[in-house]
């Protein structure tokens, strides 16, 4: 069934771009301060809810609320850093794991309490419907999401490589001490990294709200996928996360199509285990 195969492949690539975007924030934070943000998926959930509420309360289509949600999430990331992460920057790994884990549960609990566990979906968006490209039907929402993800990833890559602030971020990630000697305030860089890292999830979440259900637990699957992408791409590598995202997206849909849809997630997890045993630094990671 050639038509269906290529259709499946295309949808895998498209969602892969979005996975890459989600993972980029995670990998930036890890690369900079060696902290795995276990709550990453929950920020995605928060972004999706914000997009939903912007629609329901203000009638704003996700494309219009995108800048607002992104800004809110950036703020959320910075606040998280100053209040919760800064105290444990040098704490033992156990404490760091538990703080971000605590944030995971906290966000989920807040969502359950304030917004209930009922499923929400934005009924009609500007990006509804589908287009046919070379005989393959693609949902417009998915196409826009992929486009947005590519653009955002590119923006971050350019920011890190070509701007002074971005290069300062990379310097701190590379070697905190030397960066300090050069006069870079690592504390502020960390806060910026958190802000950007969570903001990327804001973009991803808003774009995804057009075609996913929103409910308090929606973050957990994406969080795991993000871990796999980061591991595959290499902890700390933005370019790696981009490539890995596409690979993971394709692996997911192909295993679902060729083997069994209910097990597609398992193959993604097996991919993580394979990478971590065989090539722990991933495709493009450091150390």
């Amino acid at each position: 069934m050639e038509g269906v195969f290529s259709q499946t492949l295309v949808s895998g690539i498209l969602i892969g771009f979005v996975y890459a975007l989600i993972a980029v924030g995670l990998t930036m934070i890890f690369g900079m301060m060696d902290i795995v943000n276990f709550a990453h998926g929950e920020y995605l959930m928060v972004a999706m809810y914000f997009a939903y509420w912007f629609f329901v309360l203000f009638g704003m289509d996700p494309l219009y609320s995108l800048p607002w949600v992104t800004a809110l999430l950036f703020l959320l990331g910075v606040i998280t850093y100053y209040i919760l992460i800064r105290p444990i920057i040098n704490a033992p790994m156990l404490s760091q794991i538990f703080v971000t884990f605590g944030i995971l549960i906290l966000l989920r609990g807040l969502a359950q309490y304030f917004w209930t566990v009922d499923y929400r979906m934005i009924p009609q968006t500007l990006t509804s419907g589908n287009v046919s490209i070379f005989g393959i039907y693609i949902g417009v929402a998915q196409l826009v999401a992929a486009g947005g993800a590519i653009f955002c990833n590119g923006l971050i890559f350019w920011f890190l490589k070509a701007t002074r602030v971005g290069m300062a971020l990379e310097a701190v990630a590379e070697d905190k001490e030397s960066a300090r000697l050069m006069g870079i305030n690592s504390d502020r860089m960390f806060a910026l990294a958190w802000g950007i890292g969570i903001a990327t999830v804001g973009v991803a979440g808003t774009l995804m709200s057009s075609f996913y259900y929103v409910f308090p637990e929606v973050g957990s699957n994406f969080c795991l996928i993000a871990f796999v992408v980061v591991a595959l791409g290499g902890f700390g590598s933005v370019a790696g996360a981009f490539i890995a995202g596409i690979i993971v997206g394709v692996v997911e849909v192909l295993s679902g199509y060729l083997i069994a849809p209910s097990l597609k997630f398992m193959f993604v997890l097996l991919l993580y285990l394979a990478v971590v045993f065989i090539r722990p630094q991933g495709l493009m990671g450091r150390k």
């Binding site: 703080v99 609990g109 359950q112 795991l224 097996l270 722990p280």
Partner: protein, 314 residues
Amino acid sequence: MKKGLLAFLLLICVLAVFPLFLRDPFLLHLLIMIMMYATMSIGWNVIGGYTGQVSFGNAAFFGLGAYATAILLVNYNINPWLGMVAGCILSIGLAIIVGYPCFRLRGHYFAIATIAVGEIMGLIFTNWDYVGAAVGIYLPIMEESFANFEFHSSKIPYYYIILMMLLFAIAVSYAIEKSRLGYYFRAIKDDPDGARSLGIDIQKYKMIAFSISAVLTSICGTFYAQYVLYIHPSSTMDLMMSIHLCIIVMIGGIGRLFGPVLGAFVFIPLMELTRVYLGSEGQGIDMIIYSLLVITIAIWKPQGLWSLISKGDK
């Protein structure tokens, strides 16, 4: 430690005589759940607290204990107590198979790997017809007896069984703390390179810790299956259960003997009572409360609540 020992003995006495005075089924159920989670959390403490390897996949052992019992009972009419032994063997097997490659990983990578393994187990069981797939297994209602491990007219026998299991877990934990095993575990946690230079086989001891953890968790799985008489993947192999174990130990006191017990006494009532009294409007409140507890403790009092009672030697 003396103060702690006293508190502990008091607790055991109260627990032992409690059912003689108060027979309310809901209270009994609550205490049974507290003791079950305390037992499992002690299990987690062995690998996570003493040995410092954070596992987010211990629910898989619980599930194996539950499923082993259920399948052997339903398909082969094998007594649940024997099923418990089978569950333990399977869990040790899983611990070794997973531990062997995974323990070479460091910190965060290991933690995520345990999540991956736990989730894979859940996915397999959800899609495997032999174990009932997503639907699960209904255990047959048999005549109530200790041999059958089923009781219907009262929860009290279940209560005493789980109390025994809890005491067993505490005894195991105590024995570890006082023995060379405990010393090796702590060495692995605090200074792995130093431990290696002393000639300690790190892999072997991590595996032992994990196996002990597996057994303590697995027996609870068997207990649960016989208590509820219905099991399915989301009630026995859920990631949230693994997370709850960590939270309980974190709140109570990681690496301390009674930390998990204290944690269970804080956590379970919070969870059950908010559901019962606040119902669906209150959903999430318990999560908010214990997550704030975890965060606060992780930042300011990493030794957990037990350190408020007894300073201990850490």
